[in-house]
């Protein structure tokens, strides 16, 4: 604050006998830009920059021979392997099987989570009976139940779908239940004064009010479903992307493993994008808040 830079070019005036810096120099001092403390302006295409650099490093590493193809296959090898797998039909077949498992598990889990959350969220008795067990289940990772599930259900599709569903229903339950419980009691009062019945209250107030929570739960559920899928497909599976990768491991085919990894990544990205699209459509009333 005590240091003020001279306004004019240095040397034109005797600095000692300079008149006190009245309005103008002061104004200049004040309009001087302050150093920005935030992270600064957005970089265009920022999301792609990191992956592209990684891909470039991978390409250079493979081309110069710095990366042993037995450790990590070259990007072009992965690309051509994917082409070959597609041509002989193995890729589509395994992809279909995996997607089917994912879809069945997701639907089953979402339905179960929704039904349980509705029962627990709409009645005090339901909550008393259901919430405790679900919370206990929540603290046990779905994958820790795998040994038991294999003993009960065998190693067939049933076990795989149920394992996925068990991983899916918890986030759906938690977020939907939270959404249902979080509905403003003032809206209940309003519903009473406009003469809505119980069914009308649930339909017009409770369900739309809990929808944001449900959709958030769905996003977590989709991630959970892919995670469980990866694990169950590596246990005694005879088809699916995970099986394809397991088989490739025994033959040391790094390229096939990477094709599987890329597929899992793409599928996860795609399904999350889909849920986000639904979210944006269904919650358009909330977007007007300025988001």
């Amino acid at each position: 604050m005590t240091i003020t830079a001279p306004a004019g070019p240095i040397g034109t005036e005797d600095p000692v006998h300079q008149p006190p810096p009245v309005p103008r120099p002061e104004g200049i001092t004040r309009t001087r830009r302050r150093r920005r403390l935030g992270p600064g302006r957005k970089i265009r295409g920022a999301g792609l920059l990191g992956p592209l650099i990684l891909l470039a490093a991978w390409t250079i590493g493979s081309a110069t021979g710095a990366l042993d193809p037995r450790v990590l296959s070259a990007p072009w090898t992965v690309f051509t392997t994917a082409g070959t797998l597609w041509d002989n039909g193995r890729l589509q077949e395994n992809l279909l099987t995996s997607t089917e498992r994912f879809a069945y598990g997701l639907v089953l889990g979402v339905v179960a989570g929704t039904v349980l959350a509705l029962i627990a969220g709409l009645s005090r008795w339901g909550e008393a009976l259901l919430d405790g067990p679900v919370q206990i289940k929540r603290s046990i990772p779905a994958l820790a139940l795998l040994p038991l599930l294999i003993l009960w259900l065998g190693i067939d599709e049933e076990m795989k779908v149920i394992t996925i569903a068990l991983g899916v229903f918890v986030p759906v339950y938690i977020h939907l239940h939270n959404g249902l419980r979080g509905i403003d009691s003032r809206y209940a009062e309003l519903a009473e004064t406009v003469g809505l019945g119980h069914a009308g209250f649930v339909r017009k107030v409770v369900l739309p009010g809990a929808l944001p929570g449900f959709l958030l739960g769905l996003r977590f559920a989709v991630t959970a479903a892919w995670l469980s899928l990866v694990v169950v497909e590596q246990i005694n599976a005879t088809s699916g992307i995970g099986y394809m990768m397991e088989l490739a491991r025994t033959y040391g085919q790094t390229d096939v493993i990477i094709v599987g990894l890329v597929l899992y990544g793409l599928l996860g990205l795609l399904s999350d994008g889909l849920v986000r699209l639904i979210q944006r459509r269904a919650l358009s009333w909330r977007r007007t808040l300025g988001s």
Binding site: E189, K204, P208
Partner: protein, 242 residues
């Protein structure tokens, strides 16, 4: 017309009143909020209810609205079946468009709803989301939601408390016009003495759970008379603290 107190028929009250409350008691635990309250509101009469915070204004309004579930107390309440409530917050459901908010709980009322929206000056905004409206506009939608039910009794709990002065003055004019057009009996809870004088036919001051002062307001009030009434009400309100 000299100011008078007590539960006297003011002449505005019809033989068959819209609201009749007798010896109303309300308690929250040990604390008595309303005790031996009597109140009559005539058909089409506009009554304002003043009182300090904690005097029981809102408790009375909630009792009339049938919203006091967890409250204990006795007393007789007679209210018309067609009553509607305007809250301090507009209380619109953010996930329903404006028109759907107006006709919430009604069947085949969209034409009525559109008309009610036009009446409060919001024609053409039927498809807007509540969040897109200003505070004053939201409160007007809430008024339309009440109007479309053609209430015989309108209960309003500080409906303009959250609005700025200019918007509030506009809302006063709107509410007066709507009441003249539809003639509901109105009970307006407010803490604003001037608002009460501007809007009401009769003003009650609630103190320690019963009506302490009653004041009628002439239709063509002179500034001098207005000042007189204002002073009297303010003294009555101030007496609460003494």
């Amino acid at each position: 017309m000299a100011p008078h107190t007590g539960l006297v028929n003011t002449g505005l009250i019809d033989t068959e009143p819209a609201v009749r409350v007798r010896d109303l008691d309300r308690r929250f635990g040990e604390r008595s909020v309303l005790s031996g309250l009597n109140l009559t509101i005539g058909r089409g009469e506009f009554v304002a209810l003043l009182g300090q915070s904690g005097s029981g204004k809102s408790t009375l309004l909630r009792a009339l609205a049938g919203l006091d579930h967890d409250v204990t107390g006795e007393g007789g309440i007679e209210v018309p079946g067609k009553l509607s409530v305007v809250f301090q917050d507009a209380r619109l459901l953010p996930w329903l468009r404006v028109l759907d908010n107006v006709v919430l709980g009604l069947r085949d009322a969209r034409a009525h709803g559109t008309r009610a929206l036009a009446e409060v000056g919001l024609a053409g905004r039927e498809k807007a989301w509540p969040n897109e409206l200003s505070g004053g506009e939201q409160q007007r939608v809430a008024l339309a939601r009440s109007l479309v039910r053609e209430p015989e009794l309108l209960l309003a709990d500080e409906p303009f408390g959250a609005l700025d002065a200019l918007t509030r003055a506009k809302m006063h004019v709107l509410l007066r016009n709507l009441c003249e057009a539809h003639h509901p009996a109105v009970l307006l809870v407010t803490h604003d003495v001037d608002e009460a004088i501007t809007l009401a036919d009769r003003i009650l001051v609630l103190h320690k759970g019963h009506v302490a002062v009653e004041q009628t307001v002439d239709a063509d009030i002179t500034p001098a008379r207005r000042a007189e009434i204002r002073a009297r009400l303010l003294t009555a309100l101030d007496g609460d603290t003494a």
